[in-house]
Point group: D2
Chain length 300, copies 4
């Protein structure tokens, strides 16, 4: 076989990404790739997954925009027709469109700082115009990275007003994704009903400081220490109405020993939390995650 000469493509060439989930049937890979090819698209990545138990087919196709026959604004409508015919759901995004993201925080800074730093280095293709917090402590970090910081206090008796304010702010900034970066508050079903898409493409990511489903709920490090585990973990997941029960995107663990006190677990946990959250957010932004049956397919 002839191997062509070494011709590195420009890495920054913009691509389109089609995600599709629909009932499984023969010919779907051909159908989707054929649609791209018929319009002159050069596929860079194509990933598919069939869930035989549910009879579902999930697909992610990424192709170069340069040379593609349809203009950008015509791609989503065309995909919509395709999805309708297949009885599925879809999403079209472009690799050079960095969506506006809001980060919710409380007092702990490690996840916020880590995310903002990764945005600055170009690891995370997103913009962060807005940081919402129930405590004022982290304003300086947000401001240093050019994000608007809004302090919205939360108490049981004012939760409704607070979430109304959240939704207002999210709308004002056209936010597409909310990241709970150690926010330590539960979002209400009403908030999720108003902001989230209840389908394959959820829009709220949380980091929980345990290896779910172990240690759901409050104070997981204290309970992990009490139980005497030899590994602790962190779980990044989409938020649903069930507390700590949403689809898992990424998990990571780190070893602990009897020499580690609770504060050591908390310290070690900060690293594993940052890694799991950053990984999940990147997978989400690269459109490598789809949700079905309460679980995720991760095309990585």
């Amino acid at each position: 076989m002839r191997i062509p000469a070494f011709l590195p493509l420009p890495m920054t060439a913009a691509t389109a990404i089609l995600q599709m989930i629909c009932p499984d049937q023969p010919g779907l890979v051909r159908e989707l790739s054929g649609w791209v090819a018929a319009n002159g698209g050069n596929i860079v990545h194509a990933d598919h997954h069939s869930d035989p138990g549910a009879g579902l087919f999930l697909s992610r196709i990424e192709w170069q925009l340069e040379g593609f026959g349809l203009p950008r604004e015509a791609i989503a409508p065309a995909a919509a027709s395709l999805a309708e015919r297949l009885g599925g759901e879809f999403r079209v995004t472009f690799s050079d469109c960095h969506p506006p993201v809001a980060i919710f925080v409380s007092k702990q800074d490690h996840c916020l700082l880590d995310l903002l730093w990764r945005v600055r280095t170009g690891e995370l293709p997103m913009r962060v115009p807005l940081v919402i917090a129930n405590h004022p402590d982290l304003a300086p970090i947000a401001e240093e990275f050019g994000a608007r910081f809004v302090h919205v206090p939360i108490r049981a008796d004012i939760r409704e007003q607070a979430e109304a304010r959240h939704l207002e702010l999210l709308a004002e900034h056209g936010i597409e994704l909310v990241i709970l970066a150690k926010y330590m508050q539960v979002l209400t079903p009403a908030f999720l009903a108003a902001f989230d898409s209840p389908d394959a493409f959820h829009r709220v990511i949380n980091i929980h400081h345990s290896f779910l489903p172990a240690f759901k709920g409050a104070q997981p490090y204290h309970r992990a220490w009490e139980r005497g585990v030899k590994l602790i973990g962190a779980t990044a997941h989409y938020v649903t109405e069930e507390l700590d029960g949403g689809p898992i995107i990424a998990q990571s663990t780190v070893s602990v020993s009897h020499r580690d006190e609770v504060e050591d677990l908390i310290r070690k946990g900060r690293d594993t939390e940052r890694l799991a959250l950053a990984r999940a957010v990147r997978l989400h932004l690269k459109r490598q995650v789809m949700v079905y049956r309460g679980r995720t397919a991760v095309f990585a």
Copy 2:
């Protein structure tokens, strides 16, 4: 500093190991190491742990028998005096005494075969004169490695007789440690009361096929698959009356993805089970594990 010439010691030189747990107080390291030194012992390893919350001190000291002033049979009595004075518990063992161990199995062979192979290679300093099973399937493996295989069926209505038979067999072979290598049966409190030491030195190790405390109980792989986790695990722990609640010795995890079906989790799990169990058994046999407050100190 003068570095002495390279003089590798014989690795097989026998050592004595003293494990002690007692209320914490100043001077304990000196007390224990002083006792060894006063009898001319050369310490090879010395590990200590203080639990300030419980006011406990745990120690493991290993020294060369060659040149030690006390004969073997006098060491445990001398340590007993020491322990009595300190208000603690102790155990004395010798590195060249390989204790007789019984392995309980059901139908799955991977942990049994792995343990027996590790005994043959010298990784696990133990003898396995006895394999007890509630199904006859694994008799050939036991016999190939020279262990007596006894089939003791278990049903709810004959559990009492079965466990009486177990205790009889354990006594007959002078068994010091029981390993549940995917035995898939719960031991009764009566059995534990008869065989286990309810203190720092437990005598029954189990491998559970999940990352405890996640997925306690039956069918952990099915439930892990259903939950859509991204890591599965295995936990080796001492058995206590609380199901899957005993002190954890070792845990390990392995990545899974949406492409993995339940049978893939089971397949991957076999590897992580073998590793966690083998690690725990070796730590136990090397006397590197002590239990306090429902947790283990592992001096590794």
Copy 3:
């Protein structure tokens, strides 16, 4: 979207697997999936990779044989036409055809025993009719698992005759894959020229007991100990003429500390060797590995 009722497919349904590597060009995913679909095939997995630097496209498509329009014997010829047109190389295999594999060993038993056990449990879809060894020690293991054991001594002065004997045995058993399971001998270029396919589909897998490219060559554990590393590793790779330089399939590592002597590294290494080798062999047998530019694409 309507989710179909839960209808688990039989997991044992036979599939066909097409692997293709060819110069990249637009439309290849459609071309390949279209060919499957045109014959009524239902694709179970489809993985593709483009190497823009080399202008290469690699693909692996797996579809159900049931209902496929071509009989088995017609699939490879049809794929050959496709490959010729695309200027590429290809391989067609069937998931229910377990190829005959030969394992080469020396004196260490852990990799041999592990592989044979995994074959017996169904983890590795292969048959092992032949074990070749330059020492007689492992005959009992081979025989226990029903493999023919042939002792072919190796010395510098008889290497040529020995390899002639190897090739004779491989031909006699129709061997498709050779696994060097701690064989500790170098294969000559002449042997590789006679047995290996010098293309995307190599046929000899070796396990090297270091994290390549660290510690190429002899005695890696001794050198790792001497260097004072904190992690040791194992590397499973295809064998090429360059010693320890072939395409890497799988690597794994394990922590070590200053307490570990060389023999501890060897002991811990046995586990990581077994895991890396078993993983690589399974990936190879599942046809999830392809070689290009001295490296592997692993569709896992």
Copy 4:
């Protein structure tokens, strides 16, 4: 055994730490612990290691200062007498004395930012009064965290003057430890002779972006990509005259696949570099590392 009531000690209680390395002989654990006990010290941690090959004994003992019979300033002189008698080297430090540390950087910010953030959270018991850089880019980060930033350009023809300036700055700030946080420059033997302690207690830590000894020298990620490895790593080590050859303190790895380009390796590498470096610096500051025979004992 009576378990004392739960009485958590204040975690912030200051401790003294004695590190000692000397020729091995019977009685050393007693000797050292006895000296602490004789002065009324309550030992919190005691770790020892014997290297039978070298005939060396390494020890780290940590005890509470409260109630200890000697005033702080008398402890080092007393330990010096002990060390002299035993023919060894020693170091005495106090847990509440945070040494002044200088960080050397070039243009990459991730390790610098990570270290400074960890200092602020209290994870790293050190102060950073000084950041030295051969490029001006990172001045804002240093200044945000209150460190003096000094830009000292480096070229082959002015290396001597630059290092003279370095030494001047280190002296001015009383620096005890230098961390090369992606400094990308080689320190000369003359610099090391002037600043480092050529013994068990080195004073310069570097992070190298490969799994040493693989990919010593320049551009390790490019070479790792070229080789097609499946894991990349990072190594934190003490700097000696031999390039990338100093004693290893910590190593970490992360998986890569054929989908990862060089820039992905660099991106993933930033995480593993940060973790390995932070771990090594913390171990150093906690006085858990000692060097002997070109390797480290890490009491963790």
